[in-house]
């Protein structure tokens, strides 16, 4: 239902999320994000949503909580690869302006 893969780069961490971020999977996302992303100490984090096919409000809450956790440590969370319903949900909720959004992980790390 959800797969989360972290790829460290010289200038930040890319977190690829595959599948769905919803009521069923958000608790796992939250745990992984806390342990592997916030716990890594990386301040530059890109959430790659190019393989995310569905997100609900609970998923948005998780993304927001992740962004806040990084902010509190002087880091920043940016997003890339939003398509289909994920992009629409971000627009409908105003989340598209809450986070910086890029087309690719490379562009997101460069601009960071």
């Amino acid at each position: 239902m959800i797969e989360i893969q972290c790829t460290p780069k010289d200038n930040g961490l890319i977190v690829s999320v595959t599948g769905r971020l919803d009521t069923a999977t958000a608790p796992l996302f939250d745990r992984k994000f806390q342990e592997d992303v916030v716990g890594s100490g990386q301040k530059r984090v890109v959430l790659d949503f190019s393989k995310l096919v569905y997100i609900s409000s609970l998923g948005l809450s998780s993304v927001l909580a992740g962004g806040k956790a990084l902010n509190q440590r002087g880091g920043e969370l940016v997003l890339c690869g939003l398509g289909g319903m994920v992009r629409e949900v971000f627009q409908l909720t105003g989340f598209a302006t809450v986070f910086k959004i890029f087309n690719t992980p490379e562009a997101a790390l460069e601009e960071h």
């Binding site: 919803d22 409000s57 969370l77 909720t93 105003g94």
Partner: protein, 145 residues
């Protein structure tokens, strides 16, 4: 708007607990696929059902109170897909949740009201009523939308 007659819908009743959620959602989504809803209408429907059913499961009942949630769907002659969610517990109109401020940044932004805002945005003719001790939320997904 005319009320949807419960008898004209197909129903599934389950205990109002987390474990019921997947089955209730699958029940409605199977019906929607059979009714040939578009991809866009499928995700809109899924979003609305997820938000409203989890809302009942999380907030609708006092701890330990044994309770159930019923989900029904039907397709009108015009092809609109109708959904009704019925639950007991205290009278609670989820549609009255305060609208979120969509302009705040990461640090200030909260998540209160976000789910219901989404539901209102992606559904048509959504309404709530409290009838004979039952909370009833009804909505449609229009075929053309």
């Amino acid at each position: 708007m005319k009320n949807i007659e419960p008898d004209s819908l197909r129903w599934l009743k389950r205990p109002a607990v987390r474990e019921s959620f997947s089955e209730l959602l699958a029940f409605v989504m199977d019906g929607a696929r059979t009714a040939n809803l578009s991809e866009e209408n499928l995700w809109k429907l899924e979003l609305a059902v997820e938000e409203l059913v989890t809302n009942v499961i999380r907030h609708g009942y006092a701890p330990g109170e044994s309770a159930s949630v019923r989900v029904g769907y039907g397709v009108s002659f015009s092809g609109d897909f109708s959904v009704q969610i019925r639950s007991g517990g205290v009278a609670f109109n989820p549609l009255l949740a305060e609208a979120p401020d969509l302009t705040l940044d990461v640090a200030q932004r909260g998540v209160g009201g976000l789910g219901i805002h989404l539901v209102k945005t992606v559904t048509d003719q959504i309404h709530y009523q409290h009838e004979a001790g039952i909370n009833v939320v009804s909505f449609r997904i229009r075929k053309s939308s």
